[in-house]
Symmetry: C3
């Protein structure tokens, strides 16, 4: 069973490390712009970094959830690749947002699209598993034998 999960585990771990990196950036920014907790407002440079990290944190659980739903019910390989692309997009988003509010847009759209792909894979996987479990029909196999 582990062989069906270890790729997802590796992407998950990378995702956690990325979040740790973002959190450290906020701590550095707090020092640089002298914004002590609990304050969360300050110069726009600080607020952009703070918001970038907050946004990534907010999406992290959604990402982990669809990564695993898609990986368990559909395909570990495809989900892991999408996972890596998502993390790459989020890295660019964070860097872009740190520089300007405009710079966050392109990578934000990119990572949102990847999330939608993972949601699509999850839906397909859950639907096919439902058919297998409750209707005893393996739609994917039926389709393959119908085509070839």
């Amino acid at each position: 069973m582990m062989e069906e999960l270890v790729g997802l585990g590796a992407v998950t771990l990378l995702g956690v490390l990325e979040q740790a990196y973002f959190s450290l950036q906020v701590i550095y920014a707090r020092r640089k712009y002298s914004v002590s907790p609990p304050t969360t407002s300050g110069p726009p440079e600080f607020e952009r970094i703070f918001r970038a990290q907050a946004n990534c944190s907010e999406y992290f659980p959604i990402f982990i959830t669809v990564l695993w739903t898609s990986g368990v019910f559909f395909s570990q390989g495809l989900s892991s690749v999408c996972g890596l692309l998502y993390l790459y997009g989020r890295f660019n988003y964070f860097r872009g947002y740190s520089e300007s509010a405009q710079g966050r847009l392109a990578p934000l759209y990119f990572s949102a699209q990847i999330l939608w792909v993972l949601i699509g894979f999850s839906s397909l996987g859950v639907f096919l598993t439902f058919c297998q479990v409750y209707l005893n029909v393996d739609l994917l196999q039926e389709l393959c034998s119908a085509l070839f």
Copy 2:
């Protein structure tokens, strides 16, 4: 094993789609009330929608965690039903909060109660599994044979 998880997978997916819907509402509200990121304050109409989404996002990981703990250790069926009720409550919460701060209260209490039910199921499930694994006692079965 998949047949014990696919219901949880379906509810999880629905939860992700609901969060996506809430996020889109915040984007629309940002446009409507001209509140550009990284700003998060604005007219009360905007702030209510923003806080509603933030609150749902904050509870999303808790919800997914208890849904699966309850589903894996206690009962997939009961947990999935509670999951659907929770998502329904959150939808009403978001709609209510968008209209008035008062309007969020009833569905907030409702979804909190459902969370407590899921926490109760999880506790029961973890406790019974502990007894099975470490004491080699199947309490649920003992109880049934004692009663009938």
Copy 3:
């Protein structure tokens, strides 16, 4: 399989209960300092409690993610112990932050260190599983036979 997971399930449940406790503290603080939603700013006493809860919520998904990655791929026992230490650290963090911004620091560093230990275990576990699954080498066993 359940016996490899029930410890993680128990720590997870404790984590959820701790989050519920923090949320209740924010609700009490809102009443005490008369800060009605959607407002999130108020007297420093309120803001510290609000930020403490927000910070714990933000780290909760990261914690659950590394707890399970470490527990599934490395060791349930060690991960569960680290999980309990983390929750203990977070409890002290919340209490400390409620009293003063300074009071949050020591337990914050402690819980961050525990997170890094869990990240280390996860990395080791994912790496060893990769070797087992794709290279067919059980490094842990090789190491043991080389040593003894």
